[in-house]
Structures are given as C-alpha cells and as structure tokens.
Amino acid sequence: AKGAAPPLVMHAIDSGTFQENFNPFHLEGVNFGTTGMIYETLEYFNKLRPGEVKPWLALSHEWADEGKALTFTLRQGVKWTDGKPFTADDVAFTFDTMSRHPELNKGALEISGTEVLAPDKVRIDFKTTSYAKLFNISGNTAIVPKHLFEKENPVTFTNPKPVGTGPYKLSKFSAQLYEMTKNPAYWQPGKPVVPTIRFPAYTANAVQTGLQQGEIDWAGAFVPDIDKIYVQGKPEINKYYFPPEGVVSLLPNLTHPVLSKPEVRQAINLAVDRDKIVKVAERGYTEVAHPTSIPMPGGEAFLPPEYKDAAYKVDVEKAKELLKGVDPAQLTFTLLVPSPFTDWVNAAQLIREDLAKVGITVETRGVAFQDWVSKVGKGNYDLSIRATPAGASPYFQMRSLLLSELAKPVGTAATGNYQRWKDPETDKLINAYAATEDLAEQQRATQELGRIMVEKLPVLPLFYSPAWAQFRTNKYVGWPSAQDPYAMPSPYTSPDAAVVLLNLRPAGT
C-alpha cells in the first residue's frame, strides 16, 4: 500500500547460513548489522574524508595527560531498546570488558582503567600515548548495555536477543534470513525512514543471480561484468559506487638480494602498466593509485605538495637502462598470488607480460588463500600482491605498510610490512604522528611518509582497492556518491552502513 515504506534487502557478507550471534565484541561469526544498526559507537569517522569526525553517542572527546587519558561527554536521553537509559556506566563497562578480556580487544587498546565522572562523562586511561588510536576507541568500539552483558561471559555469549541504542532492532532470525525493524524510540528524531531491513543469506555465487534478478537492493559484491549482470541498461536505478578503501600494491620482498636494489624496484615500477591492469584485470572498477599510495580523492591534505599531481608513466627504455648493471640471469622472480582473487591473478599475468618486456622473467604462482597468507606473512616469496586497508586516515595505511616493528624476520609471521622495509627515518615519522593530536602535524608526518613512498619505493602501489557497493534507487534515494561521500557506501562496513541507512529517503522525494 502507498505510504507503507517497503523493506530494504541487503547483502553484506557472503554466507550460506547465519549463526545466531549478535555479540559486537566478536570479530568473526557475528552477524552484520550488530555494530552500527543495533549497537553504536561513540563517534563516527568518515574514511572517505580523513579527519572528519562526527559526534555520535558521545558529543565530544578531550585528551589529557599526553594522550594517556581520554574523556567523553555523552549524549543525553539515549535509551536502550529495553527502555533503560544509556549512561557512562555502559561506556566504562564496555572498555573494562575489553581490558579484562584481551581476546575481545581487537584494537589492542592499552587500557589501564576507566572512571565514570558523571552520568554523562567518562574517562578512559591508557598505559601509553594513544592519540593515534582514537578511531579504534571511539569509532570502532560498539557500546553494550552493562545491565545485560554483566551477567554473561562476553567471550562466548552469542547475544541472541540484542538490545542496543541503534536505529534498528532484531525482529526475526533464521539460518537463511534475519530481519531488523526500526527502533521507534531512536534518538535521532524521525529516523530511520526505512522501516525494515532484510538480510537473506547469499553465497558469492548466489549473490550474482540475486543482483541480476533484482532481489537485492543494496549489496557489496564483486560483480565480474557489472553492466551485463547488474546495471542491465538502467544506470539510473541500478547504481554503483566503488570508492577506494585502501591500496593494492606489488610487494617486493626486500630480503631478496636483487629486489632489495632500488634500481630494480625502480625498473619494475616503470615497466608495469597500471592503466592496463585497472582496465583489464580490474575491469575499470577502480583507479590507478597515487604514487604515494594515499587514497584519492579525500587524502589531498596528506600529499606532499611536490607530488600532488604525480602519476605513473610506463617507460620501458628507462627501465632497461636501470637494469643494465644487473645480471639478467638474476632477474627471475616468482609472483605469488592467492588463487581465489581472480582479479589479482589476472593482474599478475599482466605484470608478467609487462616485466617480460624489460627482461625480467616472472613466474606467476596462484596458491590457496591460506597458503598465500602464510607465505607472505613469513616472507617466503619474491613478489606478491597485497591490499593494505586505508583506515580512518592515510596514517594507518602507511603504518602497516612501513613500520619496521611489524617486519618480522623471515620465517616468522608478520602482521604488516610484509616486504620487510627497515628504515629509521620512516619509523621516526610514524612515531611522530602517533605522539600528537594536532591534525596539521599529523598531516606533515604523513606527507613525509608519502615522499619516502615515491622516492624509495618500499612497495609499489598499483591501484586502489575498491569498496564494493551496488544500490538501487527504485525504493530509496540518498546514497553516498562521489559528489557526496558522507560515508563508505559498502554495506559491509560498520558503522558506516548505519549512517547510510539513516540518510536514505523514499524514492521520489
């Protein structure tokens, strides 16, 4: 009937079935929507506009004690869906729980204690300077109700009947489908507009058919031929938007005697035709990365000024020139890619073709995902391709790409800096960023890091890893766009998806 707004069908994560788990502390197995739609964070960080922070459950935050104490002022009048008020106790409880249970502390926050200063004021104390972890603290930690969680073991609790502060409530659950309906008492008046969200289970295969047949309103899927399968000649309704959420780079293993030579990396850099990779392997869904690797647009302020307009150019002759001093017999590498990532496998093939032109022999080897994770983690590879997530600001990306602390010896699994870049200057810059709250200073440090990226080539950025988002405008409009990137458009990013939902309005308005 007219007037009754239609439900929105959403597909976030490929899955055959759902398990009944709505515990926001969990990383895996928790159903999408738990954070953002049911539970909320203190603040909202828009990754598409680094530096933009919006108050959410907290109205403001304030650092003290050289980044070791953080005080939040909370929003008043927010209620849990069971009617109990949201207070500073809940916030303190949430952070206490994380410090009590390190396995739930995914952001590795070094919490030393919490203190409730007033019903709407709470202070969290840290062992070390934690300016750089603000996103993890306030942007990525869902606050849970103390009065319900204190009775449970948060590690194993599956929270089948979640009670949150968010715009939605869980209304129905089965292994193939769960539904959320709007929280009538939500603290943002008149919102949300979408009354019901349905989450049917789709596997990676089924989702393609689902998109083709118009079953899904909002998805975040890689679609091999988006025009044919999804758009189907209706670009006005069947829209998509793939902003960057990180960078995919070619990793040269710097412990390799040949690849550790800058001129070799330089030659590779000049030989690889990134435009073609983007067009053929990535089907034009994304863009060639900025040489600093900083996601664009959005990261302008973090770019070193002299490289603002830098771009890659293929120069086979110069590459050959650079390789003159290297024994051609040594220019043989294997390029390790995870087989399931077909676009990377194709990209690897293109890189192979490009490098062959400058006399570098590359053997591409596709391996199982876990094998790839293990080999790259332990540094047992020559060349590989890997994505690095952007995080709330380019700093996070730089840190995980370059911090020498992360580069473990070959044979030990690393959690970042897989190419094993060791440079004291880089480390100094990264530490400088973390030691300040001042945005300008942070930007300066990041610019320096960008300069290192361009000049020393610790890794070779290829293209931005796109955030997938397909959405239809026949039911609702107001989706994020390149013109208005108010949140990550992908349904699988939290809490951004909730922010998007709160922005939707019925079509035709």
Binding site: L177, Q212, Q370, D371, V373
Partner: protein, 323 residues
C-alpha cells in the same frame, strides 16, 4: 556372528585411525587460523590481540602428545570444541545445524540414484540388445562430467533462465522452518536441482556396476534353471538374478557413499546449500581446526557406519555369510 564381531573390531580400528589422522591433518596445515582472520579482517586487529585470541580459540602451544590426549578425552565426552569461523558457536551445533541438510539431500538423492540406477542396470542387463543399450553411452558421459559443471548448467538453465526451480538455498526465504506442509514443500522444491545433480552424476556408477554384475549373474545356472522352471520373467529377473547380483554391489555402494559426500561438497557450494559440505569448505578456508575435525569425523564415521550397515545388509541378504 563371528564375522560381524571381526568386522566391528576392524571398524573400531579404522575409526581410531581416522580419528588420529583427523587430529594430525589440520595441524599439518600451513598457517594458522588467527593469521587468516587477521588477513581477512584486513589488518583491523592489532597483533597484541592475537595471542589472546589464540587462547580463546583453544589453539594451544602444548606438545602434540598432550594435545592428542586432550583431543581424545574431549571426543569421548562428545565435545568437539568451538568453531573459529562461527565463534563462539560450538562445532557440534554447527554440525547439528548443517548435517540434516546434507543427510537429507545426499541421503535422498543417493537413495534415488541407487534405486533407479540399480533398477536400470538390472533392466539393461535383462534387455540387452534393445533400445535400453542406448542408456549406456549416456550413462558413461554423465559418469565423466564434473559434478559442479552439471550443477552449474542446471542452475543456469532451470534456475536463472527458465526459473522453474530455485538455484540456491535450502528453502524459500518466505517460509519459516518448521514441520508444516509449506516448509516441507519449499524444502523439496529447493532440493530438486541439487538432488538431480547428485542423482545424474552418481547414477552412472550404479547402472554400470549393476549391469555388469547382473550380466554375469544372468549366465549362472540358477538363472537359466529359474527360467526353465517356467517362472515369470519378472520373478526370474528380480528374485533370482537381481537378488544375487545386488550382493557384490552393496559393498561398493557403501564405499561410494564417501565419494558421494565428497561430490556433494561441490554440489552444495554451487547451490549454496547449507549442508556439511559448505561448512567443510568454510572450515578449510578458514583453517578452522575444530570445525574441520568435527566434520571430518562426522563424515568418516558416517562412511564407516554405512559400511557396517552394508556388512549387516550383506549378512541379512546373503545366507552364506550367516552361520
């Protein structure tokens, strides 16, 4: 009876070996689940949390032997641990949720394939030289087509193009699980294509196996004698020839169940069927030791039990093994 006792002993031994291998194999896998988790979460986890997570997942650094003893002890108590992929759900819950689907699908499909395939095999042997011989090349072809290829073609033709049958899921989104007619109908409707895949791809084995044994059996004196006795063809064919020819096929049938289950992994994946095959692949992809072990164990034990049942059936059907 002695025969059965001996077999039972053998199965226990095999079960123990399977359990032990199940324990060892996942531990020989490269990488570890937390690394994978980190990789899949694209670095949203800080390394400091990893140690704690390992502990929570029950990944211990204890010696292999201690782990083995613990593992056996837990098994005896029926504890399979918690899944890592679906943390903190218990593996037994995951299996309990998915196993019925597989058993239902694979069980019914295998049963159909067995009954139809065996009957066809019998008929083909009986009516050699008629048009039924034409089934042979068709069966041969189906025998050689990859399971998933058949499945994908079926999905494309009957699922996407004609839209006669759903190409994914175990039941419609609109129905709520429960034992009512609507749910059961939806279930059967959704199971059609996957079942057809399994039947098509596994029936050939049954047809060919039965035909060959049957042809040999038809040459036996007792079949000629039955015919000479003036019995009806039906009776000769079923009570004399097929009844005997089925015996050597029982064992191979039980063993092939393992292969059918293996094949159903692919089928389940194509059809997004929430069975144990999909779970297995998920477990393998995520190096979810507890889940993989649990599923390994269930499949192995199921095949063992099927074999034991086949032995039992053999004893019941073949008076020569009684005594």
């Amino acid at each position: 009876m002695r025969f059965l006792t001996r077999r039972l002993g053998f199965y226990l031994l095999t079960a123990w070996a399977a359990v032990t291998l199940n324990f060892l194999i996942p531990r020989l896998m490269p990488g570890d689940p937390v690394d994978l988790l980190v990789a899949r979460l694209k670095g949203n986890v800080d390394p400091a949390a990893i140690e704690a997570m390992k502990k929570a997942f029950g990944i211990s650094d204890a010696g292999l032997w201690t782990q083995y003893v613990d593992y056996l002890g837990n098994l005896f108590r029926g504890e399979l641990g918690r899944s890592i992929t679906f943390f903190p759900t218990e593996v037994s819950t995951v299996i309990a949720d998915s196993l019925p689907w597989t058993i239902g699908l694979v069980g019914v499909a295998t049963l159909i394939s067995y009954v139809v395939g065996t009957s066809l095999g019998v008929l083909m042997a009986w009516k050699r030289g008629t048009w039924l011989d034409g089934v042979l090349p068709a069966a041969t072809f189906l025998h050689a087509v990859p399971y998933f290829w058949v499945a994908l073609v079926l999905v494309f033709v009957f699922g996407s193009t004609l839209q006669w049958f759903p190409g994914s899921r175990a039941y419609g989104l609109e129905v709520t699980p429960g034992f009512d007619a609507e749910f059961l109908a939806s279930m059967a409707y959704h199971a059609t294509l996957p079942a057809v895949t399994i039947v098509l791809a596994s029936m050939a084995d049954r047809i060919l196996g039965m035909r060959n044994v049957m042809v040999t059996t038809l040459g036996e004196d007792y079949v000629v004698m039955a015919e000479a006795k003036g019995l009806t063809s039906r009776r000769v064919m079923w009570a004399y020839a097929a009844r005997n020819a089925i015996l050597p096929n029982i064992t191979s049938f039980a063993l092939s169940l393992g292969f059918v289950v293996g094949g159903s992994v692919l089928t389940e994946i194509v059809f997004s069927y929430p069975g144990i095959g999909s779970m297995l692949l998920k477990g393998v992809e995520n190096e979810d030791f507890p889940l993989m072990q649990g599923i390994f164990l269930v499949i192995s034990l199921a095949v063992l039990v099927a074999n034991l049942l086949a032995d039992l059936a053999y004893v019941i059907l073949d008076p020569r093994t009684r005594q």
